[in-house]
């Protein structure tokens, strides 16, 4: 197992640390109390309306079985936590000097929880609006990988913490003529992990990572109205740097088929980059019937990097070898998007819309590369790549509202795409050939139809379908024939609601290969999703919601694969047969007692077909699992200001193992017990109203 390595962090990063965010949250709670306790002129009750609650508690976690899988799935830890907290302060005074009309703060998931957030909204109508959204995710991933056979080590894992957030300030937010916006976003990641690295032209080892990534965004913009046109402009800038280090300090143990032994590896790979982007949009509605929106975006992104790697290992003949890799280079992307849409309300019940989109970018990158291995194996190269992409899409739609209970729309979409890819590798000392790019382009059409009708006043049915060819010009040479259908039913009564959805997606891709023109490469993907839910609130004290979902998916791909000899025509299959059932219930048997119970069950049964032997031309994959998640919780009102809760949560995960049987890897089953207690404290009006 790997663990997060604590590091000294720059002062600027401290602002997003959980402890700091928590401190801010506590400070604001304290502010709420102080606001309530202020001098009586005017009385706090007169001036401030305060409403909020915070829940603090502790949780115990006991995992039997694969703790790595449990942490990869949920990552809940034992310890103190602050969660599900919120506070609203409204300043109802007419004072011209008040700081805000309303301040709302929400927070959850701090402490032993892996996913924390802190949101704040503060605004004074007519003057400003401030929004903050700060999040922290502790991401853990360490699950078995069949590629390493009986070796239970996963080559690609991580234990990282990411702090990211957005802070936005709008000045004069309600002003119809001019508004100003400034914003800042940050994104910091640190922690550990591993990836795989290839040595001696074949053998693979895990390379450990010391993750250090930083990105900062700044944006400024203005919105306004000129000559009846709503105009909006934004300029943004992002700088980012990646200082992630890759290393192997000693031989971590051979992967099953390795023939070399590694002594050490050190890779320094600093990347710096920046993005400049500008967005301009325009909107106007003429005579209340003709609405036009145009938007133009231009972005320029550039990175530069150096790559230095030294690998010390014993090769298959037990000779100590030191390989060095060096690369230096840069890459640029220039992207322009232009969108134009209009809607013409020809009659009260009839509209026509047209939307045109253009997306184009060029990416140019390259490096100067040097590899020095055993004496005499030095390679020096100039690598250069170029990508050119253009996409034009036009969607024409019309919708007609027959009456209040029935309307429909019909549309047509046209897409034209052009992709050109070029790559050149030139050894030093040789002439530089011109890049001959691989080019592809296609034009596709699809039709759209949708309807909404209300058979009764309580029952609404939505249905839509889109069928035709999609624009995957690059990933496959042929078009992507698809048909997507979706129907939803919503039935709502006063105390009772029933929802159904059914979604089907059929995708066929009759692929071709320039290197095997007579072979047929067909990809067929069929997906069916049925979803349902029921909500029942017979009385205020009882609330029950439940549902069932079934996801059926089959993917079959005709492939040409090598099986130790000449290539063989084969078939690659993937199956999903996933059931999801849930029921949640809330009860209040006594004014001072609340009970919550839930049961969530996710089970993929697999396709129940015979598993082909390894080395077969039939490639088979599925991931049948069984995950049960029951929870029960009791809440007891102690007094007007406090509730005490006690609960228990259980996770029962098991893998139904065809893949593990096939590859000899033990299932990563676990049972996790999570008992918890908590105290909810109510503030201000939230307490008074109880």
């Amino acid at each position: 197992m790997i663990s997060i390595k604590r590091k000294n962090v720059p002062l600027r990063e401290l602002c997003c640390r959980p402890a700091m965010s928590l401190s801010i949250f506590v400070a604001l709670i304290a502010f709420a109390f102080s606001a309530m306790a202020q001098s009586p002129t005017p009385t706090p009750e007169d001036r401030f309306t305060i409403k909020g609650s915070t829940e603090i508690g502790a949780r115990w976690v006991d995992v039997e079985g694969s703790e790595n899988k449990f942490r990869s799935d949920f990552n809940y830890k034992r310890g103190f936590r602050v969660f599900d907290s919120g506070l609203t302060i409204e300043d109802t005074s007419k004072s011209g000097s008040k700081a805000f009309d309303a301040l709302t703060i929400l927070g959850s998931g701090w402490g032993a929880d892996p996913n924390g957030y802190f949101r704040a909204n503060m605004e004074r109508d007519g003057y400003y609006r401030f929004d903050a959204n700060v999040r922290r995710v502790v991401y853990f991933n360490n699950v078995n990988n069949h590629a390493v056979g009986n070796d239970l080590r996963n080559l690609h894992n991580s234990d990282r913490r990411r702090n990211f957030g957005d802070l936005d300030l709008t000045l004069l937010p309600q002003n119809p003529n001019i508004r100003f916006r400034v914003g800042y976003s940050f994104n910091f990641a640190d922690g550990t992990g591993s990836t795989s690295t290839r040595i001696s032209r074949g053998d693979v080892f895990p390379a450990f990572q010391d993750v250090d990534y930083t990105a900062n965004d700044f944006r400024v913009g203005a919105d306004g109205k000129v000559l009846g046109f709503n105009l909006s402009g934004t300029y943004g800038y992002r700088s980012f740097k990646d200082r992630t280090r890759f290393f192997v300090n000693n031989d971590p143990g051979d992967v099953t088929t390795n023939t070399v032994r590694i002594n050490s590896m050190e890779r320094n790979y600093p990347i710096d980059g920046e993005t400049h982007f500008g967005v301009f949009s325009l909107n106007r509605t003429f005579a209340k019937v003709f609405d036009v929106t145009a938007k133009v975006t231009h972005a320029a992104v550039a990175t530069d990097f150096t790559f230095d790697e030294v690998v010390n290992y014993f090769n298959s003949t037990n000779v100590n070898v030191i390989d060095t890799y060096n690369a230096v280079g840069d890459s640029k992307r220039l992207q322009t998007r232009a969108d134009l849409g209009f809607t013409w309300r020809i009659a009260d019940k009839f509209r026509v819309s047209n939307t045109f989109n253009f997306d184009g970018f060029n990416i140019n990158g390259g490096n100067i590369y040097q590899f020095v291995g055993v004496p005499g194996s030095t390679t020096r190269q100039l690598n250069y790549t170029a990508t050119r992409y253009r996409r034009y899409t036009n969607t024409l739609e019309g919708d007609y509202q027959v009456n209040n209970r029935f309307g429909f729309n019909i549309g047509w979409r046209y897409t034209h795409r052009e992709v050109a890819l070029g790559i050149s590798t030139v050894n030093f000392g040789t002439s530089i050939p011109a890049i001959v790019p691989e080019e592809a382009e296609n034009s596709t059409h699809s039709v759209i139809f949708g309807t909404k009708f209300k058979p009764t006043s309580n029952w609404t049915v939505f249905a839509d379908v889109e069928a035709g060819k999609a624009d995957n010009v690059f990933t496959r040479l042929a078009n992507y024939e698809f048909a997507n259908f979706r129907v939803r039913s919503r039935t709502h009564f006063n105390k009772f609601a029933v929802n159904f959805s059914f979604i089907t997606k059929d995708n066929d891709n009759p692929g071709q290969s320039v290197t095997a023109p007579t072979a047929s490469f067909v990809t067929e993907v069929r997906s069916r999703i049925f979803s349902s839910s029921v909500d029942w609130n017979p009385i205020d004290e009882v609330s029950i919601t439940g549902g069932y979902d079934y996801h059926w998916l089959t993917s079959e791909v005709s492939v040409l694969i090598p099986l130790g000899g000449p290539a063989t025509a084969g078939l690659s299959q993937y199956f999903v047969r996933d059931n999801y059932f849930f029921i949640d219930g809330s009860f209040r048997p006594h004014p001072r007692v609340g009970i919550f119970g839930s049961f969530r069950w996710n089970k993929d049964n697999g396709a129940n077909v015979a598993i082909p032997p390894l080395g077969s031309s039939l490639i088979f994959s599925e991931y049948p699992i069984d995950l049960k998640m029951p929870e029960v919780r009791g809440t007891f009102r102690l007094n007007r200001y406090m509730d005490w809760s006690v609960g228990y949560q259980y996770f029962d995960y098991s893998e139904l193992t065809p893949q593990q049987v096939q590859y000899g890897i033990a299932p990563q089953n676990y049972n996790a017990h999570l008992p918890y207690v908590s105290l909810r404290i109510y503030l201000g009006r939230a307490a008074m109203d109880r």
Partner: protein, 344 residues
Amino acid sequence: MASTTFIKLILVIVTFSVIVIWGAFGTVSQAISTSEVALYENEAVYQVGQDDYVGSETCKACHEQQFDQVAKTIHGKLGELTGWKGKVVGCEACHGPGREHVEGGGDRTKIKIFKEMDTKAVSESCLTCHAGRENHNNFRRGDHFRNNVGCTDCHSAHGSTFGPEKAGSITFANDASRDRPTLASRAMLIAAEPQLCMSCHTETKAQFSKPFRHKVLEGTMNCSDCHNPHGGFESKQTRVALGSDQSCLRCHTQMQGPFAFEHAPLKTEGCGACHTPHGSNNPKMLKRSSVRQLCLECHTNIVNVELDPNIPTGPHTQTSIRTQNCTVCHSQIHGSNSNKDFFR
């Protein structure tokens, strides 16, 4: 010289077009044109001869409950102004002039009752004020509008009314805490995200309950972090990051590149080509449990991969467990600066 002439020609055409459009449509996007505006001062003192308007206080006489509820909202606060965007404010801003309704003893046919209107007509009414913000500009061309999901399916113009508080899960956010303050009430939503979105998109609740998922039920993310429910130019009404990047890159910044060697589908098809953004039983939210299956759906002929017919077949043999997982060797599959085959 030729370029100067061209610029002049463009200017003439643009000017002429503006004049024609202006002449054809005349007025600007207002609910009520300037000549119709009823500017009123507090106690329903009307100007510009708007005798058809009676003022919100008159409405209160019969609709006190609704009046009190609206008064707490930002819509209610507009009633304290003398006019906003040159429009009528108060109840009649949405429901229309009420004099005939009042004189008719509450005649329902003489006032706009939104429950009896079709969804698009309701939305058009809201858009008379709420159009013009970039966030809302494409609502009329969005999936929701097209499928007759209107403003009042998610928002309440009279303000949010959440039910009594209930006990709920401490792990997954749910609607058990309706009475607690949320940002939903500021946006006048009828319920908080994600419960609001899931009331129609029911299948997403199962997706967000999978072992590998974005933390939406936990509250760390909202649906509207990635999707713009008010429409947009992107497929599935997704938002964009940094002006032109797909919304995933707003948080997953390391993947934005550009790389010296791009895995082109990341840019041309998007992250959704390989990942299921809502949730999956498969690690890393991949669309397939086996990486090999995922790669083969595009690279069907791995004997000679399309871009490089010179790739030898040996390293790709499917008789070896190790070479069955493509990303063991092609570890930098999102793009690399050092190796065109994404090895390092």
